[in-house]
Each structure stands twice: as structure tokens, then as C-alpha cells.
């Protein structure tokens, strides 16, 4: 744990205290970015464009929400790319094998994919906790295993999902936004419910805030960790389903880039990497920041290669804004 004592005196400086600023900084950054892009190119500020940003963001949002729980615990999960690929590929195989349309038994492939995600997360958690391997290493390795597994299953091929009913996730719109946006919204609410209204959710904060203390208070930390990784696996699977829904293709590459995207989004949103701070709403704001930049850069016509640089700067800025550096005794 990297957090030592904090100074209470500094924290109660009145209305615009450091705490308030820290809490709202990510949202402020998001609003400033939107305003900036809107001024540069008025077309950015249209419902259709917001729908485009949200379509792009939904799979990453689900994955980032999953990893948020893990980061709140002070661990990290880097298995998302492998897990997403495996879930996407298994879903596609089952979906086609069971009939290839949602109107048949093929709908069973949806819950089955979530189950696969849960199992992968569970194994990931078991390896981390029981073999006492740092979560960083255990999950990264599991991610590679997942990518390899997806590769073996597909033999490098793509699987197309052409079913109109499933693709309605993308093609059918309610109030200007495709169904997948509402699905992601629903799962975000579920995540928020887990975070605030369940014992498990509170326990994530307990573990992240001070593991020794949580352990000393009689909390079965190992169990909380394993359940956390399982839960993250389920959200990765939801992300995988939305990713397949968006492109209509399941392949080994379905999971590509999600590690960088989701971790960046979580950190930019203000969830601290050492645990105990942040939550799913932070992650929503973080994901929106990342995708608003990606969309806005192209919309105002800045070259693509600047985007990564800007994102990197934003991560540093976000960490500076969202944490009180003076309260940290050492950094590792």
C-alpha cells in the first residue's frame, strides 16, 4: 500500500476544497474537451455524432467497468484481451451451431458467453489468490492463454454473425441511439448497484482501502478477490458480445487494444491504481473522455498519430488532478 497518513486540515478548506476538485475533475475535463471540439467543429455537437461516440465506446465501457472493481481492490486485471476474444469466439460458434438466429435456441449462446467469462475470471482469480502470484502477472498470463485459445479455436479465421435480430443491437435505434447503448447502460446500472448496494461491492473498497485491516476484521479477502475477478470476467464477456454486435465479426483480434483503452479510461476517470478510490461512474466519464478524444481528433482533422500522445498526456494530467500527491509517502 502506498498511502500513508493524510492531513485532515488541508482537506477541509471549504467549498472549493481539493476533495471537491478531485471528485469532479474528470467530468470537468470531459466537458472542456466537448466544448473545445464543438468550438473547433460545430458538427461535433450533434446527436448523431454522440450516438457514434457511444457506439464506439460501449464495448470498452463494459470492459473498463469490469476492471474497475479489480482496481478498486488495489489489484489489476490485464486478462481482458484474451477473455474478450475467447468469449466472442465461443459465443459465435455456439450461436451458429444452435441455429444462427436469436429467434431460435441460439439465444442461449448469450448467457453461455457470460458464463465462459465468469469461468475465465474465476480461474484467473484462483491462480492469483491460491498460487499467490501477483494479479498483474497472473492476469497477463491468463490473457495470453485466452488469446492463444481463441487462436486455436478459430485457426485464424473470422466468424461472421449475420443474424438481423442480433445485429439489431447496432441497426435498430430508439430515440436516436442504437439498442447496444441501452444494453450497456443497463449493465452500468447493475455495476453501480453491485458497487453501492451489495456486501461484495463494499468489500471491494474494504480490501482496496486497507487489506490488512479488512483481513483483521474477519473479512475473507481471498474470497472477495476471487469473486471480484469472476465478476470482472462477466463484464468482459458483456463487452465481447457488444464488440461482436458492433462489427458483426468474432475473431482472435476482437480483444485487441482493450487493455490499453480500458486501463487508460479507468485511470483518466479518477479511480486510483492503488485501490479504495473511484467507482463505475468515474469509469463512465473516463471512457467518454478517451472516445471523445478519438472521435474529436478526426472530426476536427488532426492527424491520427497525435491522438496517442494526447491520451498519454491526459493520463498523467488525470493522475495529477485526481490524487493528492502530498499524502503519498512513496511511489513504486
Amino acid at each position: 500500500m502506498a498511502i500513508a497518513g493524510t492531513s485532515d486540515a488541508r482537506r477541509s478548506l471549504g467549498f472549493l476544497s481539493r476533495d471537491t476538485l478531485v471528485k469532479w475533475a474528470p467530468l470537468l475535463v470531459l466537458l472542456v474537451l466537448i466544448a473545445f471540439f464543438a468550438v473547433m467543429e460545430p458538427r461535433f455537437l450533434s446527436i448523431r455524432n454522440f450516438a457514434r461516440i457511444l457506439i464506439a465506446a460501449t464495448p470498452a465501457l463494459m470492459i473498463a467497468v469490469g476492471v474497475t472493481f479489480i482496481i478498486i481492490m488495489g489489484s489489476i486485471d490485464l486478462s481482458m484481451e484474451g477473455t474478450v476474444s475467447v468469449c466472442a469466439v465461443i459465443f459465435a460458434f455456439c450461436f451458429i451451431w444452435l441455429g444462427g438466429t436469436l429467434a431460435s435456441w441460439a439465444w442461449l449462446a448469450l448467457p453461455f458467453a457470460l458464463l465462459v467469462g465468469a469461468v475465465l475470471g474465476f480461474v484467473n482469480g484462483l491462480i492469483h489468490v491460491k498460487l499467490k502470484i501477483p494479479s498483474f502477472m497472473a492476469s497477463l498470463a491468463m490473457g495470453f492463454v485466452g488469446t492463444g485459445l481463441a487462436m486455436v479455436m478459430t485457426g485464424g479465421d473470422r466468424i461472421r454473425i449475420e443474424d438481423e435480430a442480433f445485429r439489431a443491437l447496432l441497426t435498430v435505434r430508439w430515440f436516436n441511439f442504437p439498442i447496444m447503448v441501452y444494453v450497456a447502460g443497463l449493465f452500468l446500472l447493475i455495476a453501480w448497484f453491485i458497487q453501492t448496494r451489495t456486501t461484495l461491492g463494499r468489500n471491494f473498497y474494504a480490501v482496496g482501502g486497507g487489506e490488512a485491516l479488512a483481513h483483521g476484521s474477519g473479512l475473507n479477502v481471498d474470497r472477495v478477490r476471487i469473486m471480484g475477478f469472476t465478476l470482472a470476467g462477466v463484464f468482459f464477456a458483456v463487452g465481447a458480445l457488444l464488440a461482436v454486435g458492433r462489427i458483426g465479426i468474432a475473431e482472435t483480434a476482437t480483444g485487441n487494444n482493450f487493455m490499453f483503452l480500458s486501463i487508460t479510461a479507468v485511470v483518466v476517470g479518477g479511480t486510483a491504481l492503488w485501490g479504495g478510490i473511484g467507482g463505475v461512474w468515474n469509469t463512465l466519464v473516463g471512457v467518454l473522455i478517451v472516445f471523445v478524444i478519438g472521435n474529436g481528433m478526426v472530426v476536427i482533422g488532426l492527424p491520427g498519430y497525435i491522438q496517442d500522445g494526447v491520451l498519454g498526456l491526459l493520463v498523467i494530467l488525470a493522475v495529477i488532478l485526481s490524487t493528492d500527491r502530498k499524502s503519498i509517502s512513496f511511489v513504486k
Binding site: R43, R52, I53, G155, R158, I247
Partner: protein, 369 residues
């Protein structure tokens, strides 16, 4: 803090072991060098065949390697006997793997390789030549490195020139939009040679179409999801001004198609490149107007075959003309008219190639600018 102490001790021992092992390994390589230098092997009866490449996740490299495996079956061996040296995009790993394999096989090696980047080709080739192995390269090498400067052991180099074919697909696109209006280009990784050539091809074609404006060219990194996002943003930026889309490859085209589908647009003219099975199907359905097939299956097989047959003495590379040492791979246009026939003869039922017809399907010597 005892565990920290223990850890440091363990690491110290590990490092010592590593150093000893490295010294031993280097000694081994040096010893091989002493014995092997200048040893011009006439023929190797049964060389190990290896393919060194990025990884199989990428559909293109998967095709290349499946060609290598088909070649192995063609010479009566099993797929599993092909040695895979996977560099995961690292030139250092590529070179280290080659050196390790040379040491293990004592130079009795027929190597097919894409060296990951051009500068890495020279050390790889020199290591093979020094060990008496036979090597054929694909895609990457510097312009000053030529097979004929290394006798028989650097057998051949194959590449593809994409500028011409990309220009031709661009003309198909520009004609389809009636020679007027705006188009966008979604490219590969900006620094990749094929990405540069394919954009140049488009620009060459545009010279003859003064009424067409290239609204924007943005890299999409050969990635479906990235392409999807870039195309969405293009739609915000240009809206109805976009009349056609030029994609640097098929995986990009898939992302573009889905971005358009999300907006209810299903008749936007577009062209792509690579001739993946799914793209060919889309060409047959007229969702894509043209793609270019480069036959990676044949490329992967023939590169391994050249190295193998040179190693076994089937032919003597130094007696072949220069256009047989450095040549361009095949390019086949796929348009809606011939997509179905093409798919039947090349993709659904992969032809059995004659792996000793080294240059039949190739496409002329490599021309340096």
C-alpha cells in the same frame, strides 16, 4: 524483511546462471563459427524447414504459414515438422531465434523468413550464410541487400509492389462515383510500406480525376475496430460529402462497412485490398467493388520451397538470372464479375500448387526507385 533478502539472493543466483549460460551459448556459437566459416555446403540431404514470422493471429500471416505447411505436405512430410519461429513483431527475437535454430541444426536449415523490419534482414542473412544454411526472405529487406551477393545461400527475396494494383482499384472506385465528389482513404499503420504504397496508388489515380477531392486520409492501423471508429468520425466531419471510400485492406473495409450500416447506408462505393475470403464474398455481393488477391498461401509455400530446394541441391541459385532471385509476388484483381469463379478456384478449394514451379505465378523482377 527476510523475504526481500531471500529474493535478492535468488535473483543474484539467477543472474549468475544466466551469465554462465550466455557465455556457454556464445562460446558454442563461436565454436560453430570456427568450424563452419567458409564451409560451402554442396547439398543438405534433409534440412530442417523453418518459417520465421510475426504471429498467426493476423489472418494474412496465417495464410502465409498455411502455405508453408502445405509445402511440407507436398514433400511428404507432416505439417508438424515445419519449425515455427514467431517473433511477435520483435526484430531482436527474430534474429535470436534464427541464431538458436542455426546452432541447433548445425546449419542444416532451410529458412523462410520475414525479418520484421528491413534493417534486420542483413544480420539474419549473414548469420545463415556463415552457418551454411539456405535462406529466402519475404517482404522486408534493405535496397542494398541482394541475394546474388551471397552465392547460393541467400536464395531469393519476394515482395509485392502495391502501388500499381492500388491505383487500379482506385480507378474502379473513382469511375463508380462518376468521377466527381469527395472520397476518404483509411490506411494501414502509417509507417508500413504497403500502407504508403496503397495511398500513393490512390493519389496517382486521382491525378486523372480533377473533380474528385480526397477529403481526408487517416491511418486505421489495419484494424477493423479502429477503422469503424475513424469512419464514424469521418461521417460526422464530412456527412454527405463522402461519395466513396478507399480502404488500404480488407480488415479496414469490414469496419467501414459496419460504420456505414450503423447509419443505414448500404450502397457506398468502396474498394479494398488483400482478397481475404470474406472480402471476396462481399465483392460477389457488390458491397465492395474490388479487392486485390496477393496469394499469401502460395507466397508462404514457395518461399519455404525455394530455400528447401536450394538446400537439397535441386537447383543452384547462383546459376539463375537475377529476376529469379528477387521478384514480385502475384496480384490478382477480384471484381464482382469474377468473384464467384475466383472464390471457387482459389479459396473454397485451395489449389494444389506445384512447389517446384518457383516463378510461374510471380510478377516480374523487383524494380528499385
Amino acid at each position: 524483511m527476510s523475504f526481500i533478502k531471500e529474493y535478492i539472493e535468488k535473483e543474484t543466483i539467477n543472474r549468475r546462471n544466466l551469465l554462465i549460460a550466455s557465455a556457454y551459448g556464445l562460446g558454442g556459437v563461436a565454436a560453430t563459427g570456427l568450424l563452419g566459416t567458409g564451409m560451402a555446403r554442396a547439398a543438405i540431404a534433409d534440412p530442417t524447414v523453418a518459417w520465421s514470422y510475426r504471429n498467426r493471429t493476423n489472418p494474412y500471416w496465417n495464410e502465409i504459414v498455411s502455405g508453408g505447411e502445405a509445402f511440407m505436405e507436398g514433400i511428404g512430410k507432416s505439417k508438424g515438422e515445419l519449425v515455427h519461429l514467431i517473433n511477435e513483431g520483435s526484430s531482436e527475437k527474430s534474429l535470436a531465434d534464427v541464431k538458436a535454430t542455426l546452432a541447433r541444426t548445425n546449419g542444416e536449415l532451410a529458412l523462410a523468413i520475414d525479418t520484421n523490419d528491413a534493417p534486420n534482414a542483413r544480420p539474419v542473412v549473414e548469420a545463415c550464410v556463415d552457418a551454411g544454411a539456405f535462406v529466402s526472405t519475404l517482404w522486408n529487406k534493405t535496397d542494398d541487400l541482394h541475394p546474388w551477393d551471397f552465392g547460393d545461400n541467400y536464395v531469393s527475396h519476394m515482395s509485392w509492389s502495391d502501388e500499381g494494383p492500388a491505383e487500379q482499384t482506385a480507378r474502379i472506385l473513382l469511375d463508380a462515383i462518376g468521377g466527381t465528389g469527395g472520397i476518404v482513404h483509411l490506411g494501414g499503420i502509417a509507417s508500413n510500406n504497403p500502407a504508403i504504397e496503397r495511398l500513393n496508388g490512390l493519389k496517382n489515380a486521382l491525378k486523372d480525376y480533377p473533380d474528385v477531392e480526397l477529403l481526408a486520409a487517416e491511418p486505421a492501423d489495419w484494424d477493423t475496430q479502429k477503422a469503424n471508429q475513424v469512419m464514424s468520425a469521418f461521417l460526422t466531419r464530412f456527412g454527405d460529402e463522402i461519395k466513396g471510400v478507399h480502404c488500404a485492406n480488407d480488415t479496414i473495409a469490414y469496419g467501414v462497412l459496419e460504420a456505414l450500416r450503423a447509419e443505414g447506408i448500404d450502397d457506398m462505393p468502396m474498394v479494398s485490398y488483400d482478397g481475404n475470403p470474406q472480402a471476396v464474398q462481399l465483392v460477389a455481393e457488390r458491397k465492395i467493388l474490388a479487392t486485390v488477391f496477393t496469394n499469401p498461401h502460395w507466397g508462404g509455400g514457395i518461399t519455404a520451397s525455394l530455400a528447401y530446394h536450394a538446400a537439397t541441391g535441386h537447383f543452384k541459385p547462383s546459376e539463375e538470372p537475377k529476376e529469379h532471385r528477387e521478384f514480385n509476388g502475384p496480384t490478382i484483381f477480384v471484381t464482382p464479375e469474377d468473384a464467384v469463379a475466383f472464390k471457387a478456384s482459389y479459396l473454397d478449394d485451395v489449389p494444389t500448387y506445384d512447389w517446384t514451379d518457383f516463378w510461374g505465378p510471380s510478377n516480374g523482377p523487383i524494380v528499385y526507385k
